[in-house]
């Protein structure tokens, strides 16, 4: 073995691989940015959900003679997890009606109390094994009573179980916990390779041009391809479903529980309603992604994160016991998983089923249209010429006119790639350094993260690219009209954003409370001026420098203005690492980006950001920062209306001021 040759080969392979931008993206961006982000957001969803489950009170009826029920009632009443008003007392123990009320869901459990032998009271818990609330009530009753000891050290109560759920419902319950997630994931997996094979594979095998020269429209071509992939993934889904169900039966036999469970085959089969639209959706999405790729390898690289992103909502849906209602019914991935569960449990309604199926098919159709458009892309054919860059291709994809002639690229110009890299660095620092810093000392940590961290990144970036900081940020003098516009937008954006966020993604009250405490510390340790400096001035300078300075300008160098503004806004929202603030911060971020672009200067967006935050701080100190929730609908609508009018006035003032901006 010649080490020199080995090193030579290794060096060349590394160089070549690192020049593949996509490999780099997946290798660096995903582990460092996407995975922490997704798991953090997921944890927030799960935590708030779990908190809601904990806070739920169990509805339990205690029945039996007063002499023996009194001690049980007292113990349950002492436990705050039981709803007091339904700790009803009923002298007659009537097992038939008790079972009926549990089965109907009128109560979560019935506790039948009778005197028992040896001084221990007999407690029979009537519950429904196949209902989560009832299981929770059963566990809570057990927890409240089991540990109690009589003076003679014998147990005070002897507990008995009486589940009202028939075997098939228990089988359905167990199945509903496992099957939906696995089936949805298997459908995705079933679509994965066929989707790559018939798109990128077609190109790689050199048959793309053959089919493109045939008299068939792109849309028909893509529809045919998607149907083929959807068929394959449906079959995969069905095979998995059958195999899973059979395995489950076998498994239960093996552990000896043969008598207790049967599979509700009809209901399991009814999940077909979900399988087909889900297969269509995932097939369309994956074919659309595959159609972007120039090779099998590129398609795999692109699809792996997409697979992960598709998988996450299903995972969240599969793990928690969510209701299929409201937004959950239209979120792709989540809705099909939840509907499959409800179908197995037999709790699905026709209306919700239709909403889920229709929204899934609509998303699928959207992805299909996108796929047809992408397959038409010149990039696929012209890749050999190496002249169609990603930027031009994105512009084409988004339909923003013909690809403009790219300006001559000097080595030190800002690019979208640099912008994304900057975000990556800032994000990693946020997760790894800034968050721990702010945990240690909130105010100090925040100041350091912003002034040293965020501003530092921009300064280092400017030095690294050899450009003056003022040019990177675009610090330019703007006309008075732009200043007025920025003030108006800043003074009203928080109203619009606040009301909309409250309507679309209402944050849990405890989060609102902690935000309030952050603005106005309860111990009065921070005065108004200091709070304004920390919460309004600091982010207005530092966050603007990074997001509306370096990142926005980099993105705008290769993308249309609106796209650059939207992406910057979304990154800004993600940067705050808070699911509940994602939407409001993203909306604010987009507005600030548009201001910076329209005025061709960063100063107005800094001013607007400062004004926005300052309004919130001042309201906090005035004690008038009640959550929007407490206002009532008419007031909310009025506030939103007024806010929108002022925002629009501001926008009118800002319009076209970029042409008059001058260097300082």
């Amino acid at each position: 073995m010649k080490l020199r040759d080995v090193a030579l080969v290794a060096g060349k392979e590394l160089r070549e691989t690192l020049r593949d931008r996509r490999t780099l993206t997946v290798m660096v961006l995903f582990p460092l940015v996407v995975y922490p982000l997704v798991s953090l957001l997921m944890a927030q969803v799960m935590a708030s959900h779990a908190a809601r489950g904990e806070a739920r009170r169990s509805r339990v009826t205690v029945v039996g003679p007063v002499s023996v029920t009194e001690s049980v009632r007292a113990r349950l009443a002492a436990d705050k997890s039981f709803a007091a008003d339904v700790l009803a007392w009923d002298a007659r123990a009537n097992t038939t009606s008790d079972r009926a009320s549990v089965e109907a869901g009128a109560v979560d459990a019935v506790v039948e109390v009778t005197p028992g032998a040896h001084g221990a009271t007999r407690v029979r818990v009537v519950w429904d094994e196949a209902r989560d609330e009832s299981r929770q009530a059963h566990d809570r009753v057990g927890g409240a009573l089991a540990g109690a000891l009589a003076p003679g050290c014998g147990p005070l109560f002897t507990l008995e179980d009486d589940s009202v759920a028939p075997r098939a419902r228990v089988g359905g319950y167990v199945l509903s916990k496992l099957l939906p997630l696995i089936v949805v994931v298997m459908i995705m997996l079933g679509a994965f390779y066929p989707a790559i094979d018939i798109t990128a594979g077609e190109r790689e095998r050199g048959t793309l041009e053959t089919i493109l020269s045939a008299p068939v429209s792109r849309f028909d071509l893509m529809t045919g391809k998607v149907i083929a992939v959807a068929t394959l993934s449906t079959v995969t889904g069905l095979l998995n479903m059958t195999s899973m169900s059979l395995t489950m039966v076998q498994g239960i036999h093996l552990v000896g529980g043969a008598a207790s469970v049967t599979i509700p085959w009809t209901r399991a089969a009814s999940t077909l309603i979900v399988v087909i639209p889900a297969a269509f959706l995932f097939a369309s999405v994956m074919v659309a992604i595959g159609a972007m790729a120039r090779s099998f390898k590129e398609a795999q690289t692109l699809l792996t994160p997409v697979y992960f992103l598709c998988f996450t909502p299903s995972l969240i849906a599969g793990l928690g016991d969510w209701d299929l209602a409201g937004a959950a019914a239209v979120v792709p991935g989540v809705n099909v998983t939840l509907l499959a569960r409800d179908l197995i449990l037999g709790t699905a309604t026709l209306g919700r089923t239709l909403v889920v199926v229709a929204s899934t098919l609509a998303c699928g159709a959207l992805a299909l249209t996108l796929a047809a458009r992408l397959y038409d892309s010149e990039r696929l054919l012209a890749a050999d010429d190496g002249t169609v860059g990603l930027g031009a291709w994105l512009r084409r994809l988004l339909g923003v006119g013909e690809a403009r002639a790219a300006a001559p690229t000097a080595a030190n110009r800002a690019t979208p790639g640099q912008a994304l890299a900057l975000f990556g660095v800032a994000f990693v620092l946020m997760v790894g350094v800034f968050v721990p810093l702010q945990k240690w000392r909130l105010a100090t940590g925040l100041a350091i993260s912003q002034w040293v961290g965020l501003l530092g990144i921009v300064v280092v970036y400017a030095r690294g690219t050899g450009r003056p900081l003022a040019e990177v940020l675009r610090v330019r003098r703007v006309p008075a009209r732009a200043v007025l516009g920025a003030l108006l937008v800043g003074a009203s954006a928080w109203i619009v954003v606040g009301v909309l966020a409250q309507w679309l993604v209402p944050a849990p009250p405890e989060l609102e409370e902690s935000k309030r405490r952050f603005v106005v510390p309860a111990d009065g340790s921070r005065g108004l001026v200091l709070s304004l400096a920390l919460i309004a001035l600091t982010p207005a300078v530092c966050e603007e420098a990074l997001f509306r300075g370096a990142i926005l300008r980099g993105l705008a160098a290769g993308l249309p203005r609106i796209t650059a503004a939207v992406i910057t806004g979304l990154l800004f929202g993600l940067f705050h690492l808070d699911l509940w603030r994602l939407l409001p911060t993203a909306m604010l971020g987009i507005a600030l980006s548009l201001i910076a672009l329209e005025t061709d200067s960063i100063l107005p967006s800094m001013l607007a950001h400062f004004t926005n935050n300052a309004c919130l701080v001042i309201l906090g100190y005035l004690g008038r920062d009640r959550s929007v929730d407490e206002l009532g609908k008419p007031a909310q609508v009025a506030f939103l209306g007024v806010g929108l009018v002022v925002v629009l006035l501001g926008a009118a003032c800002l319009r076209g001021t970029g042409r008059k901006a001058t260097d300082l």
């Binding site: 041009e209 053959t210 493109l212 020269s213 008299p215 169609v388 031009a392």
Partner: protein, 254 residues
């Protein structure tokens, strides 16, 4: 001149990829019963031009028509008039020759009996007897090329675009293919034949368009082109002289 007299008409075709100009204001016509050679060095814009004619790429400006059908206005109808064969029109490896021909016949909305009749006819002409039952992945280069030709002409199109059809073929197979193309011309087809082998073009083409950097450098019969380049001994010589003359001209961009 009405477009119907022509198999192919290209009017001021221009194609830009980003800032790069691939085809620059290119106009030419190919009559039915004519073999037109589209020649030029690598990167001259041949492939891009052919793709625009086949409605695979949209021109930045200009237009084209095939057998009188405007390519941009009705790409599907235009493609029905077209047999398209290039170095990058591969075959479906996991289909047999017969399945492949049937698939493309159906895409062209041919009746089943017409597909069967054309397949039988082409199997005789192109010597496909032994290979129609085999999967395409099992075929040799020459067999694949013959099957590709059958795929391109199955629907008996008015216009044939053949880009480097003889690449990778041995002398015999190339000769065979040239004979086939001549026969198609004599049946009244308009043929565009693009190649790097200038000797082959000289043998086959009725007229030749020389492309250079996306522009039409010269257009004439093979003999006419040689004469223009000061009685060059071969087309290759003529081509070299014409290109050299162009680059020596200070008016032309470097």
């Amino acid at each position: 001149m009405s477009t119907n007299e022509h198999g192919v008409t290209a009017r001021h075709l221009t194609k830009m990829f980003g800032a790069a100009l691939a085809v620059d204001d290119l106009s030419f016509t190919v009559a039915r019963g004519e073999i037109y050679g589209l020649l030029g060095p690598n990167g001259a814009g041949k492939t891009t031009t052919l793709r625009m004619l086949a409605a695979i790429l949209a021109p930045t400006s200009g237009s084209a028509s095939l057998a009188g059908v405007d390519v941009a206005r009705d790409p599907q109808a235009a493609r029905r008039q077209l047999g398209f064969l290039t170095g990058s029109t591969g075959l479906y490896a996991r289909l047999t020759g017969r399945e492949l021909l049937r698939y493309f016949g159906r895409l062209h909305h041919m009746p089943e009996d017409a597909i069967a009749a054309r397949t039988a006819l082409l199997a005789g002409v192109l010597d496909l007897e032994g290979i129609l039952a085999k999967r395409c992945e099992a075929l040799s280069t020459g067999q694949r090329q013959r099957l590709s030709v059958a795929r391109a002409v199955l629907h008996d199109p008015t216009v044939l675009i053949l880009d480097e059809p003889t690449v990778g073929l041995d002398v015999l197979a190339s000769r065979f293919l040239r004979d086939f193309v001549r026969a198609e011309r004599d049946r009244g087809k308009a043929v565009i034949f693009s190649t790097h082998y200038l000797a082959e073009a000289e043998l086959l083409c009725d007229r030749i368009g020389l492309l250079h950097r996306g522009r039409m450098l010269a257009e004439d019969t093979p003999g006419g082109l040689r004469a223009r380049a000061g009685d060059a001994s071969s087309l290759e010589e003529a081509f070299l002289r014409l290109v050299a003359g162009l680059t020596a001209d200070p008016e032309v961009r470097p």
